[in-house]
Symmetry: C2
């Protein structure tokens, strides 16, 4: 068994389900914290577990450059390398490579790009991106796609969408031929680390203080014949017809899950919503649907209500580093002098370890003093807020509270 997905409850278009991967059982809709280079910046793995993170995301582009796929592979894949026992998803590297702008050159074969670290030249093709992701060994990996820039004209959107479709077929072909090479799969040549890793999973170092319902989210042994799962990505720019065609062509190739890519690239949020909503109509109802790179707390609730099952975003972690904190009463810019003597918790409605223990005055002081603990605590709170938001979304869906869906999980008045 490499992936299974079941839908247990519905509320309008929203779906509550369970995604089972080789390393974890994940309740959906799920928010996936971003751990770019094998670390969710500033947060130790045991705290991520306590927060109830079921699956995290790694960035293939960054990991490929540093520490390199070979190193990660030798450490039993990303799970062993970063000692994360639950699920991992890696992106294909496509989005990041396309973000390099001046440093890349695209043709049918793939993309030549220069490292942002040292300017060295590299090449990603659907095949090499699969090779890298197999070596990294995430539970779920992504087809190599072209993220169409915004704005783009009709011809450009079509050409880009069609290339993504051809690359999806090449990604799948390479993956099917090489999926047994995953570091934790049947072809694993590192029994010592694998055994160590398996032992850890059988006897998880479970923190008794973590929520009881996290228990089933703990990692469990990887069965000998499980492999990774490759998801396809729908592109097509901001054109609904092209999105429909991209969905159909990607489904025709056939994947166990489908992502919507190429959004949050500068377009207005109303347009994002339109494209998400119309694209979802063309995706199989029985397969997980992953909306890449979104969004604010309000947005992730909204996309879940539209029927999205998986989301990821750097916003909670990146904003935390800039002192921007999400709370039940809206955003707080903790650097402001008004908080200098504020003895209250960051969010009185939040039960996270930061809100339970520290005052706004202390968080403000840590930020103003450029203390590393500011990033650590801010990130823990923001992730807790996102994960709790999704937990409430799942609870709401399980109750079938269609009419009160949005209001029950996000009670703040709209701006």
């Amino acid at each position: 068994m490499s992936l299974s997905f079941e839908i247990n409850s519905r509320s309008g278009n929203a779906r509550g389900g369970r995604l089972i991967t080789p390393h974890a059982e994940i309740e959906t809709p799920v928010f996936m914290p971003v751990g770019t280079v094998a670390s969710v910046k500033g947060v130790p793995q045991d705290i991520l577990e306590d927060l109830g993170a079921q699956i995290i995301l790694g960035n293939t582009y960054h990991l490929y450059l540093r520490p390199g796929v070979d190193t990660v592979r030798k450490m039993d894949g990303l799970h062993g390398f970063m000692s994360w026992r639950r699920a991992i998803l890696t992106d294909s590297g496509g989005f990041q490579v396309f973000s390099l702008n001046e440093l890349r050159k695209v043709n049918e074969e793939g993309v030549t790009f220069r490292s942002h670290l040292d300017g060295s030249s590299h090449f990603f093709s659907p095949e090499s991106a699969m090779e890298a992701q197999i070596g990294l060994g995430a539970d779920i990996i992504m087809a190599f796609d072209e993220c169409t820039e915004y704005p783009a004209d009709q011809a450009r959107m079509r050409a880009s969408m069609e290339m993504t479709a051809r690359w999806a077929a090449r990604s799948k072909k390479y993956f099917e031929e090489h999926k047994s090479e995953v570091p934790w799969g049947p072809a694993s040549e590192i029994p010592t680390l694998a055994a160590k890793s398996a032992a850890r999973m059988v006897h998880p170092d479970q923190n008794p203080t973590s929520r009881a319902n996290d228990a089933r989210e703990m990692g469990y042994p990887v069965s000998g014949d499980s492999t990774q799962s490759l998801f396809g990505i729908v592109q097509g720019g901001m054109d609904r017809a092209l999105r429909k065609e991209s969905a159909e062509r990607t489904i025709e190739i056939g994947f166990p899950g489908y992502a919507i890519g190429g959004l949050s690239v500068g377009e207005p949020r109303e347009l994002t919503r339109e494209i998400v909503e119309s694209t979802l109509e063309h995706l199989p109802r029985d397969k997980p649907r992953y909306l890449m790179g979104v969004g604010t707390p309000e947005e992730i609730v909204e996309y879940a209500s539209l029927g999205v099952d998986m989301m990821d975003c750097v916003l909670p972690t990146r904003a935390a580093r800039h002192g921007l904190l999400f709370t039940s009463e809206g955003k707080v810019s903790i650097k402001q002098a008004r908080y200098a003597q504020d003895a209250g918790p960051l969010d009185a409605n939040c039960g996270c370890r930061v809100c339970n223990r520290y005052s706004r005055a202390y968080l403000r002081h840590l930020y103003a003093s450029n203390e590393v603990l500011a990033q650590v605590l801010n990130t823990i709170h923001n992730l807790s807020f996102y994960l709790d938001t999704m937990r409430r979304v799942r609870h709401s869906i399980s109750l079938g509270e269609e009419s009160r869906f949005l209001s029950s999980v996000w009670s703040r008045p709209k701006p």
Copy 2:
């Protein structure tokens, strides 16, 4: 009760004891992690508790500049401000002010100095240093002293020592007249925060995973009439006779504990040891003895064996930020390429949460990638190593193993 100290066991000159302050019961000899601006850099308070830190140090100079004594006082003192329920010691600001070199000017009255943050001009006297430390509200505070530079000639060492003695008398006078003004003492005017803080202490948020013998180290309620304790500081440069005279004059003023200051200022380590050993002979045997600003793991064991009860040093935390890690097999510079694919733990003999979970390869990657988690994990390990070292020292003393004292706690061959 503001301070009590009892010696329970001896091994040679080493003493195993118990220091009871208003916020915690501390087993000695103790190593105190440094939390300069109300944060042990990169480590959340609950992890410090798990590590078994019984008392931490705050720097008055830094806290005076940012966030300012007034802010800390309003938050129930440092304990409330940083949500640390165990004991705290603050230095007098003297050492840091004297480190400013070009930015300071000393006379009999006190020291005028410029802030390293914004160049603004400030003045510390024995009286204002006491006022600041009373406002910060640590359990133990330090007399305002002059840290004699090294090298210094005989006349300079004597003059400096004599000024420290006069400043000690002024420090004590001000402290005795104002000690009731401590934020958590009888004169507290912030009942809400005090009540909140007291409630926390009665029901400590105790982590069940922490070591069982940490339980008695947890904070407990501050009785209504307890105050801070002021320690005196012995100076006298590198001259044994002046140190003796300084000890005698400081003891004549009378303090509940005595520190040895003015060491680790550039002198050879053999000289440090000589001065420590000879000064200890002149300090009361029934009072706690605090050696300021030392040292390496080997050194803290050695000083404990000489009869020192308390030590602090930035070394474990600062070295961690530079990737320099202390292990049972010696120092490890984790940035080295040789660790890039080293799947073993940092220290196979260490039971800390870092060594239990992460590989050298991962720690090396985090450091090389400039990830904040590198500082967090490296600091946790180094502090764990120091605190465990002291735990073994205490255990060894309690067994009275005089002959095997050093070898049992520090088995690494001398370089």
